[in-house]
């Protein structure tokens, strides 16, 4: 019980420290910006550890972070193999195919107003659907290896990407478009020099949303059949083996991969859409 009390003391202390940092003199410094969330995260982990130990939570219900960390190090080889299978083969390939296809279709839809007016409501509708539900079907169609995972990811990222890109391509000011007309620009010139650059903030918005979707899609699909590696595979079999430490180690892998993926796209966004008001320093 003392450990639990100590957990809350830790919380209060860390919060006070963060309040100091966030409102103190170095409030805008890079160090503070990094330190505050890290302290917050570390506090959560610390509380988790203390509470699990304090309440004697069984390992098979919730392992302590220290145990998870040990497993993470000890089984790193397996985790790496799973990461390659799920992330590189399944999620990433599906992400690339899905996003490219969506941008392609969006460009075609942008060319033909009729198609756009028809496709956009349908796309909006589809983007709101629980597309994960197609996972069992796609696994049946594309087999149990990474191809079916990629297929699920393609379907999942396609519609958000399509809707964003179409919206982006249309997001040019009337004046910007008129300018192109005064130059007697051709359709393709207008596309390359005006609409695609103008659409970039939207496209990146779609790309960012799609990162998490891609990961979820790939992992969910593994629950419906997979080779004997992969994050989703390992999670479901480890639950069966009551190896909860391994389950959490895989969750850490997924969260790390997802965060890095998101971060990479966000970094790319800052470079490509540096001109957008939200990115100007």
């Amino acid at each position: 019980m003392t450990l639990v009390i100590f957990a809350f003391v830790l919380w209060a202390a860390a919060w006070a420290l963060n309040a100091q940092l966030a409102n103190g003199p170095g409030r805008n410094g890079a160090v503070t910006r990094l330190a505050v969330p890290l302290i917050f995260g570390a506090t959560l982990l610390g509380m988790w550890e203390l509470i699990v130990r304090g309440l004697d939570v069984p390992m098979v219900i919730l392992p302590a972070p220290s145990v998870i960390a040990e497993t993470f190090v000890a089984r790193f080889g397996t985790l790496w193999e799973d990461f390659l299978q799920t992330f590189l083969k399944g999620a990433l390939s599906g992400y690339v195919i899905g996003c490219l296809a969506a941008v392609g279709v969006a460009i075609v839809a942008d060319r033909f107003a009729f198609l756009r007016r028809g496709l956009l409501p349908v796309g909006n509708f589809m983007a709101a659907l629980p597309i994960v539900g197609t996972a069992p079907i796609l696994v049946m169609w594309f087999g149990f290896d990474w191809e079916s995972k990629a297929a699920v990811v393609v379907v999942m990222v396609f519609f958000p990407m399509l809707v964003n890109t179409v919206a982006g391509l249309a997001d040019t000011g009337a004046m910007q478009r008129d300018l192109m007309r005064t130059y007697g620009a051709s359709y393709w010139q207008g596309l390359v020099k005006l609409r695609l650059p103008a659409a970039m903030p939207f496209i990146f918005n779609g790309l960012k949303i799609s990162t998490t979707l891609a990961l979820i899609g790939a992992i969910v699909a593994e629950f419906f059949g997979s080779p004997i590696r992969g994050v989703g595979f390992r999670i479901s079999t480890s639950v069966g083996q009551l190896a909860l430490d391994m389950v959490w180690a895989e969750i850490v892998v997924a969260a790390l991969a997802g965060t890095l993926f998101y971060g990479a796209i966000a970094a790319l966004e800052t470079r490509v859409t540096f001109w957008h008001p939200s990115h100007r320093s």
């Binding site: 917050f40 028809g118 409501p121 709101a128 539900g133 079907i137 909860l244 389950v247 895989e250």
Partner: protein, 333 residues
């Protein structure tokens, strides 16, 4: 009125009232393209049934002693559906649209299954899609309410406290990279062990997925008043609380609704995912899974479409509320 529209003007067609003309224009502008696209998708679907179901069509034909090529089953193994359909066009077309365990059921089969599941069963029956839909919907709505309340609360905190902004926001993003499907069974079991079961665990998964768009949207919304709007409040010597109720909250409404629409869709996904691996015995997710266990593809598709319709209804309803509320607030959407 000095300008009277000439008879030849657009939309002044003979024998049509202006309203009809306007409707007709709206139709050709908005509805016709959608109908066309949907029709095209249906056509593609029907066409796809032929190769997708070819191997089974051919197998069944062979069983019925119809000549097929190649003749031996082991030769056919490994051939693509398209190749089989090309070599046995008649058989493939004949068998494509009414199989029991089709790889891809035809649209009318799915429609029939949907019809049977909704109109053909009393709503209290465990075979009724309406009943299963309600099971999923109730978890969705509860989770949506949890998620929205949590999301708004976090957003209010983030906007007003710098510490929260700096520490919570990054972790909110990280939280969404955690594969919820992985923790879904654990959430359920852990809650089980503290005596919570039924709708609440699913709702928690829903809330987990739906709080994020609400946080992001509300933070944006609560920060949307520009410097001038805020300064105006300062010139009145308004308190933080007054500024929140009279300025920040009203101006966040359009953002709130935009994120609520995303949130409810996410919430529905959460409820279905919560029903998938955890052996929930009812709900659209359970239907989906049961369909998969017993090879009932029509049942999977019907559950999928039911979920789609549910999503559309939820989002549509939010849209109606949005228009009514923002309209009353004098904000055009």
């Amino acid at each position: 009125m000095t300008d009277t529209a000439p008879l030849a003007a657009q939309g002044a067609g003979i024998g049509r009232s202006g309203r009809v003309a306007l409707w007709a224009r709206g139709f050709s502008h908005a509805l016709l393209p959608v109908v066309t696209v949907v029709a095209a998708l249906l056509a593609i679907w029907y066409l796809a049934c032929i190769p997708m179901n070819a191997s089974n069509s051919v197998l069944q034909a062979a069983r019925a002693d119809v000549a097929v090529s190649p003749e031996s089953a082991s030769d056919r193994r490994g051939m693509s559906g398209l190749a089989l359909a090309v070599r046995n066009p008649g058989v493939a077309v004949a068998g494509a649209f009414d199989q029991d365990r089709a790889r891809l059921p035809a649209p009318h089969q799915v429609a029939a299954e949907l019809w049977a599941g909704t109109v053909g069963e009393p709503v209290t029956s465990n075979r009724s899609l309406i009943w299963h839909g309600w099971v999923t919907l109730s978890a969705t709505l509860l989770g949506f309410v949890f998620g929205t309340v949590l999301g708004i609360a976090l957003a209010v905190g983030i906007v007003h406290s710098r510490v929260m902004d700096m520490s919570v926001m990054p972790w909110a993003i990280v939280s969404q990279t955690v594969p919820i499907i992985a923790i879904a069974p654990m959430i359920i079991v852990v809650l089980y062990s503290v005596g919570i079961q039924g709708i609440v665990p699913k709702a928690i998964i829903s809330a987990y997925l739906s709080f994020f768009p609400v946080v992001v949207g509300m933070v944006k919304g609560l920060r949307s008043p520009n410097g001038m709007d805020l300064d105006l409040m300062a010139t009145y010597g308004a308190t933080k609380v007054q500024t929140f109720w009279k300025l920040r909250l009203p101006s966040s409404m359009p953002y709130l609704f935009a994120s609520l629409k995303i949130g409810i869709a996410a919430s529905l996904i959460g409820a279905i995912v919560g029903e998938l691996p955890t052996g929930a015995s009812a709900g659209l997710g359970a239907r989906l899974l049961a369909g998969s266990y017993y090879g009932q593809t029509e049942q999977i598709w019907a559950a999928l479409f039911a979920a789609a319709i549910l999503a559309a209804l939820c989002v549509g309803l939010l849209g109606v509320i949005e228009r009514a509320l923002l309209g009353r607030m004098g904000m055009k959407t």
